[in-house]
């Protein structure tokens, strides 16, 4: 594994291009790697041409059998990558992913391994509504036997996809639609991978820890820049992997800052922010200097309408304001019931079911 900082040759490319490069390199590296999905051979025509129709397969429009076939193939020595298009379509593939890929290694007493990668896109930005835009990654974090990644930076799209393909466990790879066409520096080396389970500290600071993944990493970075001008030093952690979580990176930061805000687009209820807040409330309790705040999407499907879609995503202003609140927090001065969670304060709507 090449550490990030040691990479000399970088190319500027989008997250989508970075994913494609990852696929190409892993196809080249390991003949057992294959790709299946609705339209993958159409979309990635160059892979089809360069690596044979046996390894790059358009499938019938049938997610359950795509995922089931990947499970069977993975247990039999192949390393399938399946593109399930949009994350909500994974609801058709849940038996294969949750009951088969996640459980049959264990239930068989370790007889099988399931080195497969399931890719799904999601997140706001395309006005496609809740049957395409649903950040349901936490469901797979909750299920045993699976790993889950969701990168923010193009380099991580590449490095995590390569790591996922090489992993001997089933890995869910979620791509935030809003990031796919964003460009960034991406290492060109074949051996570049980003290890699953390691977060990246994107910005160092002592006053408050902002934890995010995917689209909201940038929201936190922008908030941190604003806060800096006000003399508040925010530490920004990009989780990258949601399972396993890099618990140490988060806890170490919280032990330093004493303040934790977790930001994601997915619903707060039983989401990643809940998990991290809970971990901090156990393992960094004595260091906490203020309540923990979650800024998340609402308990609502994603609306197509641009205005509502955007209102569901935590904003820079909400993160900045929550940070200020925590820095100013004094057990007596601020009633804790004023800290609403989960929220997206800029939207003003708090009518959650909680």
């Amino acid at each position: 594994m090449t550490p990030y900082s040691a990479i000399p040759k970088m190319s500027r490319m989008t997250a989508e291009q970075a994913m494609h490069q990852a696929l190409r390199e892993e196809f080249q590296r390991d003949p057992d790697v294959m790709l299946m999905g609705e339209g993958v051979a159409t979309k990635r025509r160059d892979l089809l041409d360069d690596f044979s129709a046996a390894r790059v397969r358009n499938t019938p429009l049938a997610e359950a059998i795509i995922a089931g076939t990947a499970v069977g193939a993975a247990a039999s020595g192949l390393r399938p990558v399946i593109d399930l298009l949009f994350a909500p379509f994974m609801t058709y593939a849940m038996d294969a992913l949750v009951n088969s890929a996640g459980k049959l290694r264990y239930l068989s007493g370790g007889q099988f391994r399931f080195p497969l990668v399931a890719i799904g896109m999601t997140g706001g930005g395309w006005s496609v509504g809740g049957q395409h835009n649903h950040n349901l990654e936490a469901m797979f974090v909750h299920a045993p036997g699976l790993k889950v990644v969701m990168p923010a930076a193009p380099a991580d799209f590449k490095g995590l996809l390569k790591a996922a393909i090489r992993d001997d466990n089933p890995v869910l790879f979620f791509a935030d639609i809003g990031l796919l066409h964003e460009a960034g520096d991406v290492p060109e080396q074949d051996d570049f991978i980003v290890p699953i389970g390691r977060a990246a500290v994107r910005r160092v600071g002592d006053d408050v820890t902002l934890v995010a993944y995917a689209k909201t990493v940038n929201v936190c970075m922008q908030a941190a820049a604003q806060l800096e001008a006000e003399g508040i030093a925010a530490e920004v952690i990009d989780l990258r992997s949601l399972k396993p979580l890099d618990v140490d990176s988060v806890l170490n930061s919280v032990r330093k800052t004493g303040r934790l805000i977790i930001v994601h687009e997915a619903s707060g209820l039983c989401g990643i922010a809940a998990e991290l807040a809970s971990l901090a409330a156990t393992h960094a309790y004595a260091s906490l200097r203020a309540p923990i705040i979650r800024l998340t999407g609402p308990d609502a499907p994603a609306a197509a309408s641009w205005v509502l879609e955007q209102a569901a995503i935590p904003t820079v202003e909400a993160v900045a304001q929550a940070s200020r609140d925590l820095v100013e927090f004094m057990p007596v001065s601020l009633s804790e019931t004023n800290l609403c969670t989960p929220n997206h304060r800029s939207a003003g709507s708090q009518s959650c079911i909680y």
């Binding site: 339209g39 429009l61 049957q131 308990d299 641009w306 509502l308 997206h344 939207a347 079911i353």
Partner: protein, 321 residues
């Protein structure tokens, strides 16, 4: 031998198909100007118009992502559809749906899903409710789905249940040869869909989906059979998706010869020629019709574009009843 529609009916068929086409093409333009993309039904207008004409007001329709034709044929206002596509409050779903899952309960167009197969999963339940006396007496349900949806397991489950429970359900498979960016011959055997359906032992008919009269005729027969027997029937409409899957789409993956062949069989062109040959319309009439439709679409667009955005305050409204 199919019956010839009377003049009014024939002209209405032509007009509705043209309205759908004009609506879809307006959305294409809109997308080019930055509006959300849509799955247009260009080339499939005869399916929507033919089937929906065979239904009554008491019947219900369940649809999918490519629903504009079904909605307009059923009487939906283009201006409210456009408002929905643009995410505005005057849309049929207040802008929450966008183009992909528009329902219009007031028209009996219920439970649209953009999950391919979702329409098939819900339609038997709507038909069961009709059968158990919940809808208007004697009402049946028509579910529109694609050749791609026929590959999903739910296709099999829905057919089995509908046959087993004898549900008043018309399966309408618009086989437009494409499943997003994959040709259906890459996903199934040549003649698959009707064969699969036949294995379930219900009435199955395969029809030229680009001939609106043929579609209407077959649909009317199927509907009559459903009303008479109480049980389901199946139509496979052979047609073609003339434009891309979702706007924009450069269609570089499409075989141009195949596309050209189907363009020659464009349903509106075929029908205009037929009506001209029958002397029901002439060039001047066609031009006048087109102008009328264009004007109505222009007005609809203006309405939609000036419709208000939903308030962010309403973000979590309608999550729970």
């Amino acid at each position: 031998m199919q019956a010839q529609p009377n003049t009014d009916a024939a002209l209405r068929r032509l007009e509705t198909m043209q309205l759908i086409r004009a609506y879809e093409l307006a959305l294409v333009e809109l997308q080019r100007a930055g509006a959300p993309g849509t799955c247009t039904s260009v080339g499939q207008e005869a399916c929507a118009v033919g089937v929906i004409e065979a239904l009554d007001a008491r019947d219900r329709i369940v649809s999918n992502h490519r629903s504009a034709g079904h909605l307009i044929a059923r009487g939906a206002e283009p201006r409210r559809l456009m408002a929905e596509v643009l995410g505005r409050v005057d849309g049929y779903c207040g802008g929450r749906s966008g183009s992909l899952h528009i329902s219009a309960q007031e028209l009996g167009v219920v439970l649209t899903s953009t999950i391919v197969g979702g329409e098939l999963s819900m339609a038997p339940g709507v038909a069961l409710a009709q059968k158990m006396g919940k809808g208007d007496p004697g009402g049946i349900v028509a579910v529109f789905f694609g050749d791609g949806a026929a590959c999903e397991g739910i296709f099999h489950e829905a057919l089995n249940l509908a046959v087993l429970w004898q549900l008043p359900l018309l399966f309408v498979c618009e086989n437009n040869q494409w499943q997003a960016f994959v040709h259906r011959l890459e996903t199934m055997a040549e003649a698959a869909i009707a064969d699969w359906a036949r294995g379930h032992g219900l009435m199955v008919e395969t029809v030229d989906g680009n001939d609106v009269d043929a579609v209407q005729d077959a649909a009317a027969r199927a509907v009559a059979q459903i009303r008479a027997s109480g049980g389901p029937a199946f139509l496979e409409l052979s047609t073609y998706r003339q434009r891309g899957h979702f706007e924009p789409d450069d269609q570089t993956y499409v075989d141009p010869t195949e596309l050209r062949g189907w363009l020659r069989r464009d349903p509106i062109r075929l029908y205009s020629e037929r009506l001209r040959a029958r002397g029901l319309i002439d060039s001047a009439g066609l031009t006048a019709l087109q102008l009328r439709i264009d004007a109505s679409i222009t007005a609809a667009l203006a309405y939609a574009q000036t419709s208000a955005w939903p308030s962010p305050e309403t973000l979590t409204e309608y999550v729970y009843a």
